[in-house]
Symmetry: C2
Subunit: 119 residues, 2 copies
């Protein structure tokens, strides 16, 4: 493989809530996405997810509290934990999660991305 | 868990080549370390490793080429691939790798860290 420049990869797309795969290792994916607005409440039955903010401010709503992440901060949502990402302004996000992870977790609807593209 | 601020965690230590665990998910560790100077040639029998540069410039020497990583760039060293990290100046590094990963891989010597601390 070649090295990956995060900024260059982020320049390749403008759509929101549409994760892109930028690395694969040990059965895990490294993904990036741009977010703006509200996502849906969901959880993942077996997969833990790491959210690292590269730009902007992301609020991860949990059922009992809000986690506010600024640039250079991450949070790990353990499997089974309901969460809802909210981005008042545009957010650039890096995620580490198992290959099997669906963006909408236990929910299947029009926002579900079954096969995220590799870029 | 609480959120993790990478800059705050990096302020907690000054030693080189001594990885610290800052997150655990899906059988993987998120680690940070500071590097300066040369490490040793080694490989990992089963573990792939991701190296993301947070500050400085890291050269990952492979047997057939050098990978030069600047801030915001990562490289995945697949299992079995010999590598030697070199940091001419101080580098701050984030790593994502299986819990079983030893810093010196197949080599056991005075630089081996058997149980990296969590910070």
């Amino acid at each position: 493989m070649e090295k990956v420049n995060l900024s260059d990869k982020l320049d390749l797309f403008e759509d929101y809530w549409n994760p892109k795969i930028i690395g694969t290792l040990n059965g895990q994916h490294v993904k990036i996405t741009k977010l703006k607005g509200e996502f849906i409440w969901h959880h993942h039955e077996t997969e833990d997810e790491l959210f690292l903010v590269l730009k902007g401010q992301l609020t991860l709503k949990l059922r009992d509290r809000d986690i506010v992440l600024d640039e250079g901060e991450f949070f790990i949502v353990l499997h089974g934990v309901e969460h809802k990402p909210v981005a008042a302004q545009e957010v650039h996000l890096l995620m580490f999660e198992p290959i099997s992870t669906l963006n909408t977790g236990n929910v299947s609807n029009e926002r579900t991305i079954l096969e995220p593209p590799s870029i």
